[in-house]
């Protein structure tokens, strides 16, 4: 028995030294749960290509921002851009600016349960906002009827459903309502979590979808991916050009392309309600956040190389996982940002 234990110990030590001598580079990230499915796909593919291992803890955007600020991970991922205050905190803690890299896009579908009506109810921004403010409470409200003359809307109470937990989807949705409704902007604002005037909170996309599926008359916002996978009916939303737009990968990418013309310098663009004939108005970026100056050169090089791959070739994986890919102009902006990353002041 003793010999066996000795052997075991020796073996472990040997394996230990062997694996350190082959020192595989490991990168660590943390943050958004929304990004997690595509990240795991990317990390797996990239590991097979290059041997670089990337670990990701999907602990939520807030956690990701905290971890990168404390310097415990190589990159963070967030569904909402950092506030100026958070960027200040980061600068104080790490002595470097933080860089936002739009990494993937998400669209938000407005889905509902009205079996007698079927697919494609049309809504505009203010009507949607007033439903979520509790000012429109019936499906046959004159304002909804006016937009849907071809449909026979029932005299049914509207049950508003929303996410109960903080979520990037909520951030995108509330930012859209804030842009189209001054009242929403004043009362509820744009945030990952909202003090909802009406409705029921359900946990996760599947929770919201569950409430809607079970309750006739319910309306809710869910990720594009989920609506498509489950063939849920969704609303056509009126965009800035006055067209009623269906949510899909093309209309979401069109929105990003429309917005890319006036992207702010730091790429912290909230692109809801963006201009463009075919732009779907309720969609947004998810960001990877990294320091502008990374101390460990080896990590900096590997990370930047990976991100360059992710924002270009990696985007091909987006649609199969029901994300919307970044449009070309945004990819170009990302690459410019990544080329400017330094390590201890030196170019990579």
């Amino acid at each position: 028995m003793k010999n066996f234990l000795k052997g075991l110990l020796l073996g472990t030590l040997l394996v230990g030294t062997m694996s350190t001598s082959q020192a595989q580079l490991q990168l660590n990230g943390a943050g958004s749960t929304f990004d997690y499915p595509i990240f795991s796909k990317w990390f797996d593919t990239y590991n097979k290509m290059t041997g670089i291992e990337i670990n990701y803890a999907s602990i939520g955007s807030g956690g990701g921002i905290h971890q990168i600020t404390e310097g415990t991970v190589d990159f963070g991922a967030s569904d909402a851009p950092l506030t100026p205050e958070q960027m200040g905190d980061f600068n104080k803690a790490q002595g470097s600016d933080i860089v936002h890299i739009p990494i993937i896009m998400g669209g938000v579908a407005i889905t509902y349960n009205l079996p007698s009506v079927g697919q494609g109810i049309k809504l505009d921004g203010t009507t949607l906002a007033d439903i979520y403010l509790g000012k429109i409470t019936k499906w046959n409200d004159p304002r909804i009827v006016k937009l849907n003359k071809d449909k026979n809307l029932p005299d049914k109470a509207i049950l508003v459903a929303h996410r109960s937990e903080g979520s990037g989807t909520t951030f995108i949705f509330s930012s859209y309502l804030s842009k189209v409704s001054p009242e929403w902007s004043k009362q509820c604002g744009t945030s990952i979590a909202i003090n909802w005037p009406v409705g029921i909170g359900a946990k996760g996309t599947e929770g919201v979808a569950g409430v809607i599926a079970q309750t006739e008359g319910a309306i809710g916002y869910i990720e594009l991916a989920y609506a498509k996978q489950n063939n849920l009916p969704y609303c056509l939303i009126k965009n800035q050009s006055g067209n009623f737009i269906e949510v899909n990968f093309n209309t979401v990418s069109a929105a990003a392309a429309g917005a890319s013309a006036h992207m702010p310098n730091d790429l912290r663009a909230v692109i809801t309600n963006s201009p463009g004939k075919n732009s779907y108005p309720i969609c947004g970026f998810s960001w990877v956040v990294i320091p502008k100056d990374i101390k460990n050169r080896e990590h900096a090089e590997a990370l930047v190389k990976f991100l360059k791959w992710a924002v270009t070739k990696g985007q091909a994986d987006a649609t199969s996982l029901y994300y919307a890919p970044l449009p070309k102009p945004v990819q170009k902006l990302d690459l410019e940002k990544l080329n400017a990353i330094t390590s201890n002041g030196n170019k990579l």
């Binding site: 749960t33 939520g60 909202i194």
Partner: protein, 335 residues
Amino acid sequence: MEIVNDKGSLAKNQEYLNGSNGKKTSPFLKKILGKKNLGDVIFERLTLLFAVLVFLLVLFMGWEMYSNSLLSINKFGWKFLITTTWDPYSETFGALPMIFGTIVSSLLALIIAVPLGLSVAVFLSELAPAWLEKPFSFLTELLAAIPSVIYGLWGIFVLVPWLRNVVEPFLQKEFPNSPLFQGAPYGYDMLAAGVILSIMVLPIISSISRDVIKSVPDTLREAAYALGATKWEVTKIVFSNARSGILGAIILGFGRALGETMAVVMVIGNRPQITASILNPATTIAGTLANEFSEATSDLYLSAIIELGLILFVITIIINIFARLLVWGTERKWK
């Protein structure tokens, strides 16, 4: 074995136990050990250390929550406990709707679970034949082994539709003017949370009550039967003697209901509001923690959530201590 009763052989015996077998122990060790065995002392100290560690862990958790919620405590003070707005966007935080939801949903659970749980306990301890008692108590206790999230799923797919289509319309028809049953019945509400919780606390209430009732000495029962008491009368006598222990069981169930998270989040509708109607959505402290902790980005927001945790921590500790004291009280009475 021969009984050792003279001092000489006792000492010899002790020496043998010490494993010294004639070898001299150092005077220093002897001084610490006294007449105890070295292994025993190490064992004792080690277990003591671990016991103290657990206690320190609780203190440390309390301290950690306190220090992490200082930001919110300093900003809102005691007003945190009575403010009804929970708005992450404007960063106004008040815990009252969560405290209200936590306590009301747990009380609702007790209203349903106490009569059921006590009936089960009395049946199992007083009335059931032996061959029925074992499988029945096993089955009730099995309820406690089902993971919370399974209750939640069952809630979404079975309980909520049933409440929405059957129970709630019935309540509204029978009591049209009661403030308890106002509002549109969607099934995701305080009532659903109460019903789910009642099933989850049932095994706690019934199994502890059963043990407490069983600890009432048989002499009492025999005396009562001898005087010609009926089963019902005997049960009443046993009950009145086990009263405080049963109360303890109920409060322990209450404590469990207060902290229950996942199942509640899935059916309560998650809305921080205070209404008289149990057909309206509400939220609980534990539910808010589970929902909002991971995506809370600002420091004040995070701090307010941790303060919520601290409040729950204090409430459950007080309630559990109270319940334990009651249970111990009854058990000691009969020993």
